[in-house]
């Protein structure tokens, strides 16, 4: 990383923020922020995303550590399930005598 202050356009790295609202729920992506390091990212996330009691746990992840699917390959990635109703559980009828389903 370059020395802070070397260039006028330099910014802190970007972090993605995940907040868990309650015990038993999973962390949910709530947004992103800038911070110089992970400890400060957690604190900034606390100030930006949990001021009104939204959460009891925060995760921060360097945005650059996230690998994403290719938006241009949307068709190949996400459209193949079309017409394949049998992939959904509701496609099947319940056999007689099966409980708790």
């Amino acid at each position: 990383m370059s020395t802070p202050g070397e260039t006028g356009t330099e910014a802190w790295p970007l972090w993605e923020v995940f907040v868990r609202a309650n015990r038993g729920l999973s962390h949910v992506h709530v947004g992103s922020l800038h911070a110089p390091d992970p400890d400060m990212a957690v604190r900034n996330a606390r100030d930006l995303y949990t001021r009104r009691g939204e959460g009891i746990s925060i995760w921060v992840v360097p945005a650059e550590a996230i690998t994403t699917s290719d938006p241009d390959a949307k068709g190949a990635f996400f459209e193949s399930p079309a017409g394949k109703n049998y992939r959904h559980a509701v496609y099947y009828t319940k056999s007689e005598g099966v409980k708790h389903l």
């Binding site: 922020l33 911070a35 100030d47 001021r51």
Partner: protein
Amino acid sequence: MSGHGDEHAHGHVSVDELKLAEEFTGAQAGGEGQVATADAAEYALRLGDDALVLAQQLGMWIARAPELEEDVALGNIALDLIGHARSLLHYAGTATGRSEDDLAYWRDEPEWRNAWLFEQPNGDFAHTITRQLAASVYLVELYARLADSTDATLAAIAAKSLKEVDYHRDHATQWVLRLAGGTDESRRRMIAAITDTWPYVDELFHDDELVERLTADDVAVLPSTLREPFDAVIDAVLAEAELELPSGRTAFIAAGGGREGRHTEHLGPLLAEMQVLARAHPGASW
């Protein structure tokens, strides 16, 4: 809303009146809201003025901090402090029938009771952080003890505020470590900030007749007894940051006098900016 907009140049703008939480108005303690004794009111005024002046200083960082995130962090800290100030000034006002707004907007400089540390200018980010470190470490030690006050309202305010100033201390500590261990430039600024700020720390621990009377009844905390725990926390932070307090030629102790209404040249302009709107439109609400 009204068809006669001309009567009110700014229209009918109203915001629901903000009510203080019950514990702050003393409702839980005294049933009908506790009225402060003259001594307790003066003590609450000192603490309230400390908080309000510091909040006003921090507010000046909004839109000027190094990053948007730090704007928000300092703004949130300022809002916490305004909350403490409202509670303390509200309680102080019960002794003389004045509201928190009367005390915030209609007192002139000699009537303010904050210590000099809180009115010192923001300077650069390192100066603000150093002032935050000294202020928040002091406030954590103070509120932790004041939570056991025999004055139920002061105890409730202290207990509620403690968690918030504890976060302020963490925020300041994190930045001291980063500025001290960052670049040559950030470390140079951090050292300069400590040199400039530390002369104003001593006043926080001055005892006088008022606090001695209040301490006899376990209402207040004797400031001098906070010095040792304050120094212990500061020493640990500075040791980790490999910083030292000023000594020798650069070390001096400012006279102080804020508790008696004597202030540095910085308080006047700050009050002028804070009070101008309320004084230009007395009784206005928005």
